[in-house]
Symmetry: C2
Subunit: 315 residues, 2 copies
């Protein structure tokens, strides 16, 4: 069994990340290419398979030592049948990606939600190392989530951990989410949500340095907030407020020991985290916030690959 390799693929709307892990969870090699989701699932599966083989070859490793391939994919999954039921960023509907990859790679393939595998990666080898009950929020284009209880990913019927779709914004202030519902935390605490709030502020003529920017990114909103812009600060506060309240909801349901916040938006650091912590403390009953901390993810963009590879060691 020793020196076997596992390939972990993190498939996002923007890029395909392919990594090779050993059994200890060390990332031996990695590679990133654009997804080209617009060319359809067959083409994307071709890319995933081709770059898995290329990476193993280029690293001078033996393809025969690859014991399995795991993939983390953004969307609602039918885990039992290895199907992406709905991948909003990829625009995938009922794509049997597990079998598609198995055919192309001739290796055992396991799939899970991208945020679930990121949670598993962080729990296994990152910010959750040694902790049994961990909940991860990934703040990127959307808000993903992953739940690890007693060291295992909680999947429910396959769609558990869709934490971005927790309803938290009151109806009267809510806007529609990509999932069709109103008021999901994803609409305010994702990069997309933050950019949208900033664009709205500029469009309605709020007095803000954001209006001077050619293009607004979530990072730009954090930069302007740090520079003292009040409107940008209010946007950051709103993103952190609703995320904090969302964590409060998850805490009373699951009582984890640690929340791990990852994804691009988490790079805002304490500027955002201070609001998250403040509102988590305020809106969580005492027993559900005792011995609970909120920390930043440590594996960065590698969490998904590592966790996807780790799917084979968990089951």
């Amino acid at each position: 069994m020793s020196d076997q390799l596992y390939i972990g693929i993190d498939l996002g709307g923007t890029s395909i990340k392919v990594g090779i892990c050993n059994e200890a969870g060390d990332l031996v090699a990695k590679f990133e290419v654009p997804t080209h989701a617009e060319e359809g699932p067959e083409k994307v599966a071709d890319l995933m398979a081709a770059y898995s083989r290329v990476l193993v070859e280029n690293t001078g490793l033996d393809w025969d030592k690859v014991a399995g391939v795991g993939a983390g994919i953004a969307g609602f999954m039918d885990l039992k049948n290895g199907i992406v039921k709905l991948g909003p960023n990829l625009k995938w509907y009922d794509v049997p990606i597990r079998d598609m990859l198995q055919q192309r790679l001739e290796k055992p393939v396991l799939i899970d939600n991208d945020a679930n595998v990121a949670a598993l990666g962080e729990a296994w080898a990152g910010a959750g190392k040694g902790i049994d009950n961990v909940v991860l929020f990934t703040l990127g284009t959307g808000v993903g989530g992953g739940i690890v209880m007693n060291g295992k990913v909680v999947t429910g019927q396959g769609s558990a951990g869709e934490l971005g779709h927790i309803n938290v914004v009151p109806d009267l202030e809510a806007i529609q989410c990509g999932c069709g519902q109103m008021g999901c935390v994803e609409t305010v605490s994702s990069a997309t949500g933050i950019v949208l709030m900033a664009q709205d502020a500029v469009q309605r003529g709020d007095k803000t340095t954001l209006a001077l920017l050619e293009q607004i990114s979530a990072k730009a909103v954090f930069d302007e907030a740090r520079a003292g812009d009040e409107v940008a600060n209010r946007i950051v506060q709103r993103a952190g407020y609703y995320l904090g309240r969302t964590l409060a909801t998850v805490a009373v349901i699951l009582n984890p020991q640690r929340f791990i916040i990852g994804g691009g938006v988490s790079r805002a650091g304490e500027l955002l985290f201070a609001h998250v912590r403040e509102n988590f403390a305020k809106y969580t009953p005492p027993a559900a916030q005792t011995n609970v901390d909120i920390v930043v993810a440590t594996l960065g963009n590698d969490a998904g690959m590592i966790g996807a590879a780790g799917l084979h060691l968990q089951r």
Copy 2:
């Protein structure tokens, strides 16, 4: 190992229910006495122990065959140390009930939250029989919850499943919950919440047959609603609306296959359930409501005893 017995105790604010189970989960005998919480934890523990022994004797069973005692208790728990951190209905703070019972009974004792054990009971031998991923809501004086994923109770650090304290009522309409937070589902969907809404309606002079009652119970509100009273119907609708939205939140987080609704309030049946189902369907993203049903608990008041006894077979 065979023909061993397990005692399950369901400790509530009003009554202590003691049951004897065999290894198959059949309830061999049961007994119910008032809790007398006002006399303090030592006295309550005395009663729990005394009635456990009395029930075994009176049933003609052998005390030596009792392999363990389980207790489900309303409140926030420190499971590792067997302590009730906060039992609002019992007015208990930091009560080491596991050790207190172990001393009195000289048997292994396991404790858990009352709603967790009810969920385990229902999942093991009731409405969740044969289903791996089940979430139970117990609508009684408060709203309790229990989560069973992959056939195991999810405890987190010990306080998981406090589903009554999910924040669901918007701030502007929220009232304070016993837990100190505002807007918990318990404030609207528990018997207490329903009675409070009815009393408020009467006090502010709403035109309702509820005003003619000497004392208002949750059952009375359901009876008047069935008889066509509009105010009572609006109260039932509100209780069902927020419970449905709470289920929606739990569904995106845990994606269970079945929600089981138990407790006294669940006896309202379809009058309440229709609103729960309607709003669950409306506020849950499609993937999280596929293959999910909402059913009434079948073990009634026995679920807690059976699940408490079952704690010994689960771990």
